[in-house]
């Protein structure tokens, strides 16, 4: 489903962000991506949702190949991916309902199908009564739930979460993590970048540890650490 083969990413000013990474994430898997700041976690996620292309090597996501994909192919791929960020990235002048609906509208979903689906998603993320609230009227945890609902509108095969709990308190963090587990249990793969060791300890999901642009440990492949 997601396959990185000998992927390196170099930036002109900051140098090598990813160094010869080879990795496979299977359908329906839940994987943590961890490591200190600057270790390459976010770069790797950006390569997966093809916001950037590798300097060398190849990223293949559900049949879309980074070396061949046109901009229109990337747009199509993103309709089957969900992405959430630490800073939520909601449109402040639209309600929670409108933020979620917007993601359906831009992908050309039938108009009549949008309200019911948005309401169902709001219920799924525990915000059934807050559809008319604007982002500033919601707590951080609630805003992240709206962002997750938006990421789920097109029934993605994978949810990419770049430090989704980084701005949240413990209680909100637990709530978001529980939501991500439920989403994964329903069949959607989740790749979550995080610094939160406690979260990783509380579950037995695959953990991929990065350092200076390399994968230095992978719980699914202990030989990586050995090498």
């Amino acid at each position: 489903m997601i396959r990185l083969t000998n992927v390196s990413k170099e930036y002109p000013r900051t140098g090598l962000a990813l160094n010869d990474v080879t990795l496979h994430i299977a359908k329906g898997e839940f994987a943590f991506l961890t490591g200190p700041s600057g270790s390459g976690k976010s770069t790797m996620l950006r390569l997966v949702y093809m916001d950037e292309r590798p300097t060398s090597g190849e990223v293949r996501v559900s049949g879309t190949n980074s070396s061949e994909a046109k901009r229109s192919d990337i747009a199509r791929l993103r309709r089957h991916l969900g992405v959430v960020f630490q800073d939520f990235r909601l449109l402040d002048d639209r309600t929670a309902h409108a933020n979620i609906a917007f993601a359906m509208e831009v992908t050309g979903a039938p108009r009549e199908s949008i309200p019911a689906k948005v309401n169902r998603l709001l219920t799924q993320v525990g915000l059934a009564s807050k559809g008319n609230a604007y982002p500033k009227e919601l707590s951080g945890g609630e805003q992240q739930r709206v962002a997750i609902a938006r990421a789920l509108v097109n029934d993605p095969f994978v949810l990419i979460a770049d430090e989704p709990t980084g701005n949240l308190d413990d209680r909100a963090t637990r709530g978001i993590f529980q939501l991500l587990r439920e989403i994964n249990a329903a069949g959607t793969a989740v790749v979550m970048a995080t610094h939160d060791l406690e979260l990783m300890r509380r579950s037995d999901y695959r953990t991929i540890e990065m350092l200076q642009g390399r994968v230095v440990a992978d719980s699914a492949h202990p030989e990586v650490a050995a090498s």
Partner: protein, 282 residues
């Protein structure tokens, strides 16, 4: 399309000041261009009116048979450069001189002024070479004593017209370029102000065409409104000049529509370029 229209409307509502600023910038850029156009138009009209006065007079010898003069006028009227041929009798010449000289008109005795053939040329034949060519041909008639036209004046007028055309083209292009740059910068501001929204649209899988559509609509509408405002300001300027200084012509309906359409085109092209550049970077 419906969604693109809604998004364009939201953009207007969300940043009304920026939108108004955009429209006013487009309006003033086009207004400057419009004022220049107004000057060029009135200069062209003035030159045209002056050029229409270019005429060649062939003075007829006394005692020439009217049939010979009539035949020559038929010939001259058929020259490709000639628009109009008139016969001015001795009496008419005297009457005209008296009216032009006013109280000094009495110095002329009847029969003192010769009869003449007056020739006016077509607009495309008022250059010095054509004027001289026609004058020389008229002079070949045996009963023509003398041929007069303001040779120096024709040359000068032609030079003024050439300079005015070149200066007009250069200034016009410069004004248009400045308008394009200013309008492009204004629209770029609007695009940058919505960078976050564009990034989110791309993130959830919007195609470039979809992202572009609301900006193109917005640019087009701003262009039409800016063009309309510029047209009104130019009309107002023309009206004030006519009232307080000198009678000034205004653009005809065709040119006025072209002005508004060029505003729309500038808005559309400015948006397309700005949003295209922005999209290439994300």
């Amino acid at each position: 399309m419906r969604l693109a229209l809604r998004e364009a409307l939201i953009a207007f509502r969300r940043a009304p000041l920026l939108s108004v600023l955009g429209i006013v910038t487009i309006a003033f850029s086009l207004f400057a261009f419009g004022l220049f156009g107004l000057v060029a138009l009135n200069l062209r009209d003035a030159l045209q009116r002056t050029e229409e006065r270019v005429e060649i007079a062939g003075y007829i010898a006394d005692g020439t048979a009217p049939e010979a003069v009539a035949a020559a006028m038929g010939d001259i009227g058929a020259f490709p450069e000639v628009a109009h041929v008139d016969f001015v009798s001795q009496d008419s010449a005297l009457a005209r001189a008296k009216s032009e000289l006013g109280e000094f008109g009495d110095v002329f005795e009847p029969g003192v002024l010769p009869a003449s053939i007056e020739v006016r040329l077509k607009p495309n034949a008022r250059d010095p070479q054509s004027v001289k060519r026609v004058a020389d041909r008229i002079a070949t008639y045996t009963f023509i004593d003398d041929v007069r036209y303001a040779e120096d004046w024709v040359v000068k007028l032609y030079q003024i017209r050439t300079v005015a055309t070149v200066v007009g083209l250069v200034l016009g292009l410069a004004f248009a370029a400045v308008a394009v740059i200013i309008i492009g910068a204004t629209i770029r501001m609007a695009v940058l102000a919505r960078g976050r929204e564009i990034a989110i649209m791309r993130l959830v899988g919007a195609t470039d065409g979809f992202v572009r559509a609301p900006f193109l609509i917005e640019g087009f509408v701003k262009g039409v409104l800016g063009g309309g405002l510029a047209l009104f300001l130019t009309w107002l300027a023309a009206a004030l000049i006519s009232r307080y200084f000198v009678q000034a012509s205004f653009f005809g309906p065709g040119l006025a529509t072209l002005g508004v359409l060029s505003g729309a085109l500038l808005g559309l092209a400015g948006s397309a370029v700005s949003v295209g550049r922005h999209l290439r970077r994300i």
